[in-house]
Symmetry: C2
Subunit: 297 residues, 2 copies
């Protein structure tokens, strides 16, 4: 299983995820933007807007290669040589405040000295946290993890809790999920093939996992106050992505393709000085959950 | 002229700027939020929303002190000891897309070893750049600079061009203005008193400078397309502030008061994948100006 095989599998997964999301949405379809990278490789950024369910979403695939750049040496501690990186990245901003934002990413990195690693994860950002739905989400991830390694769910759930924390707000971006990076046969019990299957299993489960979360909230009525709260939470999403997300920051600082990186931005975000939800409101309840670490299972 | 005198002058300037902006707006008034800092000092964050002119704005004053923290040592290269920092920071997001966003900041920093410096600046971010208005803005700043030092305008204009550049977009945040930092009697021709006067002159000129810019556009009709463009440009403002602005980043990473730092965020910001204004439109014209460096005078 070489890098071209992995990239090709990711590209096929991108296409099938977009098909699945179009069926889920039932109205809008993806626009496809193919781009080339001057230094080597390129990608396909698929975006969708103004659907029944999805207000703005993106499913991006890329496979890029070339000499290890100065920012990679400086910020990722790499040595001279060539790299190859391929992955899928998804962010969906739904219209209905009762449907959560979702993010999925799988990636593979290889250096010309033969080292390689896999990274990825899925995490959920409900505007309103519903405990039962969060538990179902985490159970599904746990089931996937278990079929690969008994320790993965616990480890990768903790990794997500840590990664998606917003220090300047003292809160989590959402209810977490799983996150992992730099996995290889040298630091796990799995072979390279099995690690690849772990990533593709996550990607191929994405539509079904999200469809279920969508089904819980998509028919809920929502009012102006709930839209305002949705937009405030989207503001937090922007803050996390632009201030803390290591992938976004590295991409922007190192001359990555801005439009593909910032495909994660919401269609509309709102900020209000020192906004505090009223006592006993469901907005306050969500905030309290986001300010604490929860073992969902 | 000691640090308490400077802080007190800045606090008075905050009050008179808020008075002036309320008169300019003619509808909304500022809410005042006084806060204390556990480690020493505090501030007053004045905010205004839903005015005739101003959709969301903030005029913040702070005077904080205490032991030099680890982030200050690490990121600002300071040594052990105590610091004192005071300043005013303003960001105004107007309702009408034909009125520019404005930012003003003056700050004073002192260390227990006796070193001190002043920093500050004013810069303008029109959603639509009107060359004549930009020239007037720069001329006013040049006039102020000239009354202190013949080299200031050229130097501090170039500093602003450099500071407010958004590398990942290849464009400027706006039409610049002046920006300066670490000024003291040791690296300028001016005494400490005169540097202080340079800062207070900028602050006391702020309302009149902005009032003129407001007058150019406030009665212009605007449509949905122009509101969309305004919100897209606000998205760029968010990107600059959260990804590149050194003050914002340092504040958020070092445990500064989040609500006061992020008072600069717009009320509503919009993102659209790979948005390109149509050929020959005034949006395209603005973008072309922002992608080039302009000597306005």
């Amino acid at each position: 299983m070489n890098k071209e095989y992995i990239a090709s599998a990711y590209q096929k997964l991108q296409a099938s995820i977009c098909d699945g999301l179009e069926k889920l949405d039932g109205k809008s379809t993806f626009s496809s933007d193919k781009w080339d990278r001057t230094e080597g490789g390129g990608g396909i950024t698929n975006t969708i807007v103004n659907g029944n369910i999805i207000e703005k979403g993106g499913v991006a695939f890329s496979a890029v290669y070339g000499p290890v750049s100065d920012p990679m040496k400086k910020q990722l501690g790499m040595s001279d040589g060539d790299f190859f990186a391929t992955g899928i990245s998804i962010v969906i901003h739904p219209k209905n405040p009762h449907v959560p934002i979702i993010h999925m990413n799988v990636r593979y990195f290889e250096l010309s000295d033969g080292t390689y690693w896999f990274g990825g994860g899925i995490d959920l950002t409900p505007h309103y946290v519903v405990r039962e739905n969060a538990v179902i989400f985490h159970q599904q991830l746990q089931t996937i993890c278990k079929s690969f390694d008994d320790s993965f769910y616990t480890k990768h759930k903790a990794w997500a809790d840590d990664y998606f924390y917003i220090p300047h707000r003292g809160e989590s971006r959402g209810i977490g999920g799983i996150f992992f990076d730099h996995l290889s046969e040298s630091n796990t019990t799995l072979s390279k093939d099995r690690l690849f299957e772990y990533c593709t299993k996550l990607a191929s489960s994405f539509v079904s996992i999200y469809s279920q979360q969508v089904s819980f909230g998509k028919d809920n009525f929502f009012n102006e106050e709930e839209l305002k709260w949705r937009n405030l939470r989207r503001g937090r999403y922007v803050e996390f992505n632009l201030v803390h997300d290591r992938g976004t920051k590295f991409g922007l600082y190192s001359g990555g393709r801005t439009e593909s990186i910032l495909m994660s931005m919401p269609p509309l975000a709102h900020w209000e000085y020192d906004y505090n939800p009223s006592k006993g409101s469901k907005e306050e309840e969500t905030l309290e959950i986001l300010k604490s670490k929860v073992d969902w299972i």
